[in-house]
Amino acid sequence: MDALILFSHGSLLCGSGEALEAHAERLRQRGDFSRVEVGYLNYTEPSFAEAVARVAAAGATRVTVAPYFLVTGYFVTTSLPREIEKAQAAHPQLTFTVAEALGQDEALANALLESAAGARGPEAWRDGLKRAALRCRPDPRCPLYGTENCPKVPVAPAREEDEGVVAARA
């Protein structure tokens, strides 16, 4: 059975996986691979190791790893082989193949042009923050944590000494 793992870096920001998870869902719909998982190097779940465990449990024998990276940099040339080495040790029955990074392709040019065609004015420029907050997983390291955009952790009340600083600056 052939499985596909989309490999990405991961992020502290809530909702940062929205694009990649949408790609994974569309790839599942296409059905080119009998199993499609996303695996992250840092911060975001599931980890690459967890993604491998999932496809192994589903009975995969061949695993194609497609890096969701614009270029073949450190994470693709160095981090990914390390992750695959560990995964290979844990699941010796699997055969791994690594695809090229996105790099250069007409698809990127088309994406750019279509994005430009749908460009909007200032009222929509921060819609991404609202979408990110909708996928909140409260984590003090998230840039939205405890801000007005974080739906689960209230904004911390200003402390008196903070107000004193503000007054001193004013």
Binding site: L4, L13, N110, A116, P122, A124
Partner: protein, 128 residues
Amino acid sequence: MPDALLVMVHGSPTAGANDAMFAVVDALKARPEVAARFPVVEVGFMECNDPPIPEAIDRCVAQGATRVVAVPYFLHTGTHVCDDLPTLLEEAQTRHPGVAFALGDYIGLSPRLTDLLAARAAAAAASP
């Protein structure tokens, strides 16, 4: 009055890291319909590389653009896409009150990239 296309890129300290992006932008500029729609195309960087985004915007305006359409060349949303890039456009709006600014989705949201991932995966899976 001409529209400018501004490609907003993260930037990288690694030599050659932007080569593929520049090749994509060059391929875009070579399309006649794009040249007609966007007589001005500039690339601007958040970090590490020149020109910085504010300078790229000023270049668009210096070439006569009255509308600047900005597209984040980013795969993921994050603080840059959600907050930093809008801030740069707001600052540019203050510098250039007569210019209209628009911001598109970051390219990672495009289903075109799903097709590209599928193609990359298929090529690897077909390799011996």
